[in-house]
């Protein structure tokens, strides 16, 4: 099976350098530039363990079709310098067809990279930079690489303007000079990468998964956020804080996650759709509060941007290992919603939908994103107006009590389990939100009949709801099924497409709504597939085990699960499917 960097056209490259070398800045500019040249793109980044200023790598993949994951290999490695870069080596798969661009003055290339067999070309970046006022090697290299990739100079300049605009005119002006000098010098160097791109009909977006999650929240109607900073979720909060103010809302930095979850229960009780964002350790602190929200039927949304666990784990790297806590972390019988974003752009729709569902069903929605979605940026088509009706259709809004309602009992059972919620200020609707089991009027009760009735109400409103087609994204047909959830959808979609192209008909099913599981729909989508592989990025096959426990998988389904921090790559998934299907035959 051939390893691929791209799907027809485009290229995959990584830029590495030590702290202060500007590798990530160069990557951001290049992403903005390929977007302006008419390509789609995906920019991931990897940083060393230092708090600030350590070595880092920017990884860019671009092409004429939407890019949903990193490829199997890189065409180009742009080494601004090599200090500590060996730490990333396993994240930078190179081979004999790859090209390492560097400046001999940057020192020797780490042995581990040389061993890949990649060709090496030394370019005079340092000399060119020295010829400029405040010349910067990263900008010279960027100009040269841009030219080699066939990017128009005005796209590069516009990308630089968009990325460096906030840094002041002087920095921008010097950077543009460096980019131009690198670009001009590249004419002598041959371009190794094909280029083809069409100007898009609608202007595309440049957005990160964490920004997209924040945007999804406000699109869904969120106007209050309380949260405690944590990697890799903080950018959700950084994006939201100033913007909520513009929308008439606010963000409160809480003293801890015990506080933040209870704060949003309070604000939601007050009638304002509310959200928090965190990562595994924070979610662990929140679970008691989530149970309170379930019991008191107070809508709240938690965006959990997963990282490697357990404990502090690998805070800067991705893993899909919080599914178990999201599904089972709450004590008691506490039905709630668990969703997972299937891509960077999908963070917008999934979070907006989660807000609508939580509001309408008066419950908890946990949305699982992860570091690889949250901290990567992509050039994407603009999202549709609304996700699965979120924010617009009445069935995705909170049912608010009015004075004229004949029955104001807050927890009165209704046919669909949803009872109107009075907001403070409504004279007829006064009640006490209650975490103790209660009767229909809200008064505490330990009677079996009340417990049974309220448990049933809280479960029924979730299981009886018609979630429509948003529960999963399904692509392609075939006797083979790749079944996945969350961020693994990107590499799974690509793996399935490449398998189909190479004569192995494969259907990809990516679950967006994990709880309540849409079991019937899932079994129908799996159909009579001869081989089924459940793909996820954790050690213990958490989704596979969950689906089995729900009797939602045929007995011959197999699991491909491995922990982070290395991203799942399409080629590896293709190999796993082929091996698993072969085992099936023997």
């Amino acid at each position: 099976m051939t390893e691929r960097s791209t799907l027809d056209g485009g290229a995959a490259l990584a830029i590495t350098g030590s702290g202060g070398s500007g590798a990530v800045t160069a990557g951001l500019i290049l992403l903005a530039a390929v977007g302006r040249a008419g390509y789609y793109g995906l920019l991931g980044r990897s940083a060393g363990p230092q708090i600030r200023g350590g070595e880092s790598a920017a990884m860019l993949r671009f092409g004429p079709r939407p890019i949903e994951c990193m490829g199997d290999r890189f065409d180009l490695l742009v080494g601004l310098d090599w200090e500590n870069v060996a730490r990333f080596a396993d994240e930078l798969p190179l081979d004999r067809n790859s090209l390492i661009l560097t400046d001999a003055q940057a020192g020797p290339i780490p042995e581990i990279l040389v061993r890949s067999g990649a060709q090496v070309r030394s370019l005079p970046w340092k000399a060119l930079a020295d010829g400029q006022t405040e010349g910067r090697v990263n900008m010279v290299a960027l100009g040269m690489v841009g030219a080699m990739l066939g990017l128009p100079p005005d796209a590069l300049e516009a990308g630089a303007r968009a990325t460096l605009g906030g840094k002041g005119g002087r920095v921008l002006a010097h950077s543009l000079e460096c980019i131009r000098s690198g670009y001009a010098a590249a004419d002598a160097q041959s371009s190794s990468v094909p280029s083809s791109a069409l100007a898009p009909a609608v202007a595309r977006w440049n957005i990160s998964g964490n920004e997209a999650a924040g945007l999804g929240g406000v699109r869904g109607g969120v106007r209050f956020v309380a949260a405690y900073p944590i990697t890799p979720a903080s950018e959700v909060l950084e994006w939201l804080a100033p913007r909520l103010e513009l929308l008439g809302g606010s963000l409160l930095q809480a003293e801890d996650e015990l506080a933040s979850i209870n704060m949003i229960i309070g604000s939601s009780f007050g009638g304002v759709p509310s959200l928090t964002a965190t990562s595994g350790p924070g979610l662990s602190l929140m679970v008691e509060g989530l149970g309170l929200a379930v019991a008191s039927e107070t809508p709240v949304v938690v965006v959990n941007v997963q990282r490697g666990g357990p404990s502090t784990g690998i805070p800067t790297k991705s893993e899909q290992s919080d599914l178990n806590i999201a599904l089972y972390g709450l004590h008691g019988d506490a039905p709630h919603l668990v969703l997972a974003a299937l891509g960077i752009r999908d963070c917008i729709d999934t979070v907006a939908w989660a807000v609508g569902l939580a509001e309408h069903l008066q419950t908890v929605a946990i949305v699982l994103s992860d570091q690889i979605l949250g901290q990567s940026r992509a050039i994407v088509d603009p999202p549709g107006d609304r996700a699965f009706g979120a924010g617009e259709t009445p069935h995705l809004q909170r049912l608010i009590a009015r004075d004229a309602d004949p029955d104001h009992r807050r927890y009165r059972p209704t046919p669909d389990g949803v009872s109107p919620m009075a907001l403070p200020g409504l004279a007829g609707g006064m009640y006490t939100g209650e975490g103790l089991e209660h009767g229909p009027g809200g008064a505490p009760s330990s009677r079996a009949i009340d417990h049974a009735e309220q448990l049933d109400k809280r479960l029924r409103k979730l299981t009886g709801f018609d979630y429509g087609p948003g529960w999963a994204e399904i692509r392609g047909e075939g006797d083979h099924v790749l079944l996945t959830w969350g961020s693994a959808a990107g590499p799974v979609f690509e793996a399935a497409e490449r398998l189909r192209d190479s004569g192995t008909p494969t259907r990809a099913i990516a679950l967006r709504l994990l709880a309540p599981l849409q079991r019937e729909a899932l079994l129908e989508a799996i159909g009579s597939a001869g081989s089924i592989l459940v793909v996820e990025q954790n050690q213990t096959a958490q989704c596979f085990a969950y689906l089995h426990s729900q009797q939602a998988l045929p007995a011959h389904a197999r699991s491909y699960a491995r922990p982070g921090p290395l991203p799942l790559r399409p080629g590896e998934i293709m190999r796993a499917l082929t091996e698993s299907a072969e085992r099936e035959e023997t």
């Binding site: 903005a32 302006r36 202007a203 595309r204 977006w205 440049n206 957005i207 920004e211 945007l215 406000v218 699109r219 106007r223 209050f224 309380a226 913007r243 909520l244 103010e245 513009l246 929308l247 008439g248 809302g249 606010s250 409160l252 809480a254 003293e255 801890d256 015990l258 506080a259 933040s260 209870n262 704060m263 229960i265 309070g266 604000s267 939601s268 009780f269 007050g270 009638g271 304002v272 509310s274 008691e288 509060g289 149970g291 309170l292 008191s296 603009p382 403070p424 200020g425 004279a427 609707g429 006064m430 009640y431 006490t432 939100g433 209650e434 975490g435 103790l436 809200g442 008064a443 505490p444």
Partner: protein
């Protein structure tokens, strides 16, 4: 407080709900409930504009007994829940009530940060130096030699938490102490606490009839504070450190900036989306 929400005709008993308290006969918390309803009536607050927020404990049962909006949350988290509500709904009068275990042990961190955040909240801690609800364990305010709990058969051996001193150090802008056995004094302090713009901390000595019967003696031990309230934190600290824990009254009150977001919308989500367009 917003003048428009005042309602003229209610009496204290109109603020009582129909739910019957679970408290033991003679529990100090009854007097606190009664003082709360009197203070609400005195201030003529519209019931639907009041929210009573609590955590878990005997004392935290109070919201259900008041005819207003309320939230009976989880142990120790009443202050964050109330802070979120007040941040989102500045139009409401938000009163938080709970016990010494709820507020100073499991919820201790929130107490510190609520004091320094200084939102316009009233925080009543019904201090009985014991965990009533879980049947009589030592709390942070229990004396070190109290050995009646099976969990601490030799006493806690720790100096008690000083709620008023800690509130002052953490930046609270209103610090007072009342006594369940002095209903009129307590009502007056509650009225002042609710009217105070900012975080008003009211420690209420509220005897636990069942697990601390010796607290019956408190009525002989309490005494009015011998100074007028000060706005000087140094003077207040001196007073609080010299206090025997039984002085009643308002000790410290100071106008400090109140944390309250008050943003008017000037954009829509669609406006924000433009930043992403290439």
């Amino acid at each position: 407080m917003d003048v428009a929400v005042i309602t003229p005709t209610l009496r204290a008993k109109d603020y009582k709900s129909e739910v019957a308290p679970v408290w033991c006969p003679g529990c100090g918390h009854f007097a606190v409930l009664s003082a709360v309803t009197k203070a609400l009536a005195h201030l003529k607050l519209a019931k639907e504009r009041v929210a009573m927020i609590s955590g878990i404990g005997c004392s935290s049962r109070l919201p259900a007994y008041v005819d207003a909006y309320g939230f009976h949350g989880i142990h120790g988290r009443a202050l964050p829940l109330a802070s979120g509500l007040k941040a989102a709904r500045p139009d409401l009068t938000v009163i938080v009530a709970g016990g010494d275990g709820d507020g100073f042990s499991i919820g201790g961190n929130h107490f510190l940060h609520a004091c320094r955040r200084n939102m316009d909240l009233t925080y009543i801690v019904m201090d009985n130096e014991v965990y009533g609800m879980t049947k009589g364990q030592a709390s942070p305010t229990t004396q070190p030699d109290w050995a009646k709990s099976k969990l601490t058969p030799h006493g806690t051996g720790m100096r008690p938490f000083l709620p008023t001193a800690i509130a002052l150090a953490a930046g609270a802008s209103f610090i007072a102490r009342g006594f369940a056995g002095d209903p009129n004094g307590l009502t007056k302090l509650l009225v002042e606490a609710i009217e105070h713009p900012g975080f008003a901390f009211l420690q209420v000595l509220s005897p636990c009839q069942t697990f601390r019967p010796e607290q019956k003696e408190w009525k002989h031990l309490v005494h009015p504070a011998d100074t007028a309230p000060t706005d000087d934190p140094v003077e207040a600290a001196r007073f609080i450190q010299a206090d025997d824990g039984m002085a009643l009254g308002l000790f410290y009150v100071r106008r400090l900036p109140v944390w309250q977001p008050q943003n008017q919308p000037t954009a829509t989500p669609a406006d924000l989306e433009r930043e992403f367009v290439l």
